[in-house]
Structures are given as structure tokens and as C-alpha cells.
Symmetry: C2
Subunit: 352 residues, 2 copies
Amino acid sequence: MADLVAYPMNGGDGLYSYSRNSNFQRKAIDAGKELIKEAVSEKLDIKSFSSSNTFRVTDLGCSVGPNTFHAVQNIVDAVEQKYQSQGHNSQLPEFQVFFSDHTSNDFNALFQSLPPDRRYYVAGVPGSFHSRLFPKAFLHFAYSSYALQCLSKVPEEVVDMNSPAWNKGRIHYSKSADQVVKAYTAQYAKDMECFLNARAQEIVCGGLMAFVVPGRPNGIPHTEVFVNTVIELLGSCLMDMAKKGIISEEKVDCFNIPQYTASLEEVEVIVKANGYFSVEIMENLRQEKPPPKVFAVGVRSGMEGMIRKHFGDEIMDELFDSFGKKLEESSSVLESKKSVSLFVLLKRRATE
Amino acid sequence: MADLVAYPMNGGDGLYSYSRNSNFQRKAIDAGKELIKEAVSEKLDIKSFSSSNTFRVTDLGCSVGPNTFHAVQNIVDAVEQKYQSQGHNSQLPEFQVFFSDHTSNDFNALFQSLPPDRRYYVAGVPGSFHSRLFPKAFLHFAYSSYALQCLSKVPEEVVDMNSPAWNKGRIHYSKSADQVVKAYTAQYAKDMECFLNARAQEIVCGGLMAFVVPGRPNGIPHTEVFVNTVIELLGSCLMDMAKKGIISEEKVDCFNIPQYTASLEEVEVIVKANGYFSVEIMENLRQEKPPPKVFAVGVRSGMEGMIRKHFGDEIMDELFDSFGKKLEESSSVLESKKSVSLFVLLKRRATE
């Protein structure tokens, strides 16, 4: 199961490609745009970077374009504006942008669709953001959008039939027994710790890190969260297929989506315990719910790779057909669910 | 024609892939191995880099593995040895390696075959090395193997039927009229100038650049050079097909291989005129001639992309069959031709 998470978004530009079906995520980026500008304007101390005449940005979990290009351009624009507003017009830095994602990401597609009029040097960085990707004190701004909800692996106990946390008949934790929820929560905390430790090494003191993820409003149960309900529906489609004998029930039992929907409270606790970063901005961004059919294709573009790997190619169309229908039937239930994105801005502390 | 050069080596790991057919180039890398060690040991002044604790290497025109991995590992090993030999064991730098090639290079294949036990951070950089790829003063060691013989484009006049440099009936310059040779020579000088200017910006003062290319011993005519004769034979196969009516003669007339075989003398003149680098080592490396059949597949893995783009897929098998046969028939002629690789080590001068 562990390697499921290395199946990234659908590459290329086909019907179910991420590049054509990432408008939902795009809206979160747009919502974060002003906050990034604000962060750079108010929180970035450009004097502390003056020894380097290059400003290095990374998008962690960039997938393919165009979302990642919009996001990094927004950061580059904001930093340039900051330099100009402080009268450093003649000392504008050069920009170097590192697009990073799993090794199996479609970097060929990413590189071939780079904006031709970009004002930055480009590099692609393959690997998991749960470990080190860059040398020490290398980055000035790390960004990540709709990626940090992905766990490094499915918590082992939820697919262990001898464990009290065995997640029988489900592919996600939100409607499951407490032990399952705890296993997911613990895995998320562990992964975030690894993520923060790696970035703490890589980001210069005073450097910024912003991330946007699908989130859970503080105090709201996991079952009341839109994305969780959607994944539960996908799981129920798989169980329907198991009951019809199309796939085996055991195969569903050992399949879990390695994704966790955190709240700002949870993120804050983890960041403070880690200690390397100060929390500068934390906000719940309103996240519009897309129409069921659009969302069905969006989920397909994001999760098809890992589902295909586990269940095989042949069930995909039937699965996503019934998933689309179920989303439509459940539209009134889904309407009542909470949908926010978390926006978090951290600053690398000056001391270890 | 200009975009032909953006058709890189065959990706993937199929029968005609570069990764399976690059042993010829590998031998040149091996021959340069000791020279790189010598260069790092004698010419690299690690004290001048002490402000950065990261040592940055790039392979320009890396294609896919494994050659590029052998080459960069050799550099990393040599730098580590140098640090250790100078008693800086505890201050070993972190290494960051930038694999660079045309945007259309198969970076997915490259990333998926990265050595798992590597001791360096990785990035892929898409783009042409005839222009800037990195920020200012970023690199400590730039390396390039069997790539700098590629021109940025076919010289325009050789495909212009109104020019005295029109290269009718040929796909390369070596047996052509003086005007054709001059056009190629001028394009090479211009491209090398662009290459050196870009690298002069990117490489730190005191940083090194090594490159290996198929070469021409000083004073030997272009017609006496092994690789040139091989390309001429490939051209004659295309003309045979034109005579048989399989392809049009006009199509051959406007197809030229954008590749030039320079001598050390020529390289030296260009480097000195450029002025940003000092020449530290220049050597002709003995280059073994591979058996005709092996070489035919090697040429296919390197040139198939651009030939297919111009003539279409359907002629490829017939072309390379007849090319293989012609290489065998010409083996005594080829035996008499000169085959060397140039090894050049340059150092970025301290002053502008």
C-alpha cells in the first residue's frame, strides 16, 4: 500500500488529465493569491536575503500546469513588487523556480507547457516532500497547494485485520471507528513533522512557506467535511461493486486513501511543537463546491492512478460513472457539508 | 529546420533507446574520468568556494541515464576526495546535481532511473545550453559529454538553393564545397560563443567546466574524420532512397545534420577570443571505433528523432538497414579514418 501515494495526478492533457480538471484547486490558489501578496509585502524581510542575488521558490507537489505556473508567478510578482516598493528597482533579484513532485509525476508534460514568457530559471525536482529535496539554506519561499493533505503512506494498522484499527469496508477514516481516525491523525502528525523538519533545513532563516490544503473548520467533526464525504461516497461505490462480485471485498478492505483533512488548530499544534517556524498567517478560505459531475472528473484526475494500481484498469469507467451518479443523488447532503481550504503562512525562525 | 536540434536522443529503454545504445559515448566518459580527477585535484581551488556549503554540478546535454549518472558521480567522488585529501573531512559540502537537456528530452525516464544510492540532491533543467539556464554565479562545475558538437541550428545558407553554400545531395558538410564547410564552421563558432557567454555568467569565479566531444585531430581534413564519414554514409543512404523514389530528392536537399566536428585548435581560438575562461587541459582522447552494426544502432538512437521528424516514420527501418550494410561494406575505409574525442577543461577567470 505504501507506494500508492507515489501515484500522482493524471499527466498529459487528456479528458481525465489533472491539467484539464484542476479548476477546483485553481480557485483555492486564487483565493490564496491576495494572502501571498500580503505575506510577501508584510512578512518578507528582503534585507536578510541581500547576500544572494537569486530568489529561490519551490512549489512542492506541483503536478503539471497550469495551476503551478499561476501560483509561482504570483509569488514572483509579489517579490518584485516588494523590491520596487522599497526602491530596490535596480537590484531586482534573479528568480529560480523549482517544480517538485513525486518521481512518477509527468515532468515531461510540465516542462513542455512552461510559460514561454516566464521571468525565472526553471528546474524540476523529483522526490517526496516528506524528506529532503534541497541543500541546506537554499530556498527563500516554499509553496504547496493541495498536496499536504496526502499522507506519506496509509497507516499500517488500518489495513491489518488483526488490529482494532482495521478499517473494514471503508477506504477512508471519517466515518470509521475512533481507532481508525486516531491512526490517520497520528500518521498526519508524523508526516507533517517530517515535512517541517526537511523544510527547516532547506529554507533560509527568515524565508517563508505558504501552503493551501482542503481543510476542516475548527471544532467540526470529520464526518461533516465535504471532501471526506466525497471520499466516503467513492468508497461506497467500491463496496457496491464488491457486493456485485466485480471486485473482491478483501481488495476494498486493504485499500485506503492516504489523505487527511486537518484543521487550523491541528496544524498550529504541530507547527508549534516542531519549533522551527513561526505562524504568521492562518486562515480558512471559503471553498466553493463544484457541480457533482465536474467534481467527479476532478476526483478521477487526482485519484485514478492509485485506484487503477490497486484494482486494475477495467473497473475505472464503471466506478466513476456510479460515483458521478452518487454525487448527484447526494447533492443535498453534500450541500450541507463544510468546505474550506486552510491557508497557512510560516516563517523560518532565525535561531535553531 | 532549426527545431530539428530539439529532437534529442531516443528516450525510454527500448531496442533503439539511447540508454541501451550509448556505450560508445560511455567509453569517452571513461577515458575522461582520470582527467576529471586530475582537474579537480590540481585545478579546483576549494577555498574560493568556502562561502557556499553546497557544490553544484550540471551535466549539459545529459540525455537519459546511465552515462550521465557515471559522469556526475565521477565529479562528486573527485571533489569529495579533494576535500578529504586537504583535511576538510568534517566540512564536506552537500552536492546538488542539475541534469540539463532540451525540453523534449525524456526527463521522466531520467528521473525514474536515478541511482537510488546517490549522495546528491537532484534537479532537471529543461532548455538549450546555447542560452542561459541558471542564475548568476550558481554553478561550481559544468560538464558536457557528446553534446557540444550539436549546433543550435542548421546554417541557413546550406539549405538555401539560391546560396553558393547550398548543400545539394548531402546531409553534412565534410565532403561538400568550401562554402558549406565555412557555413558550418561559422555556425559552430557562433554557438560556442553563446555557450561560453552563458556559462561565464552561471559559473562562479574559479569554477570549472569540462567537456568531451567527438573531435578532429589538429591539421586533419574534415573528410578524414570517422564520425563525419559515418554521417556522409547515412546521407548517401538517403540519396539512394531518393533515387529509388521512396523519398524526394528535394527533401534530402533541405535536410542537414546540425553537428560539427571541431579540433582542439579551433576550440582554443574560440575560448581565447571569448576571454571568460582559461584553458587548463586540452587533450585528444583515443576513441575506439565500435563494430559497424553496433555503431549503426548507436547512430539510430541519437539521430532517429530528427530524421523521423523530417522524413516520416515509415522509412526508418529501411534506412537504418541499408545504413548498417553500408557501414559493413565500408569497414576498411572507416578503419583508416581518424577517431578521437576532445577533452577540454576550462576555468572561469576571476575577473570579468
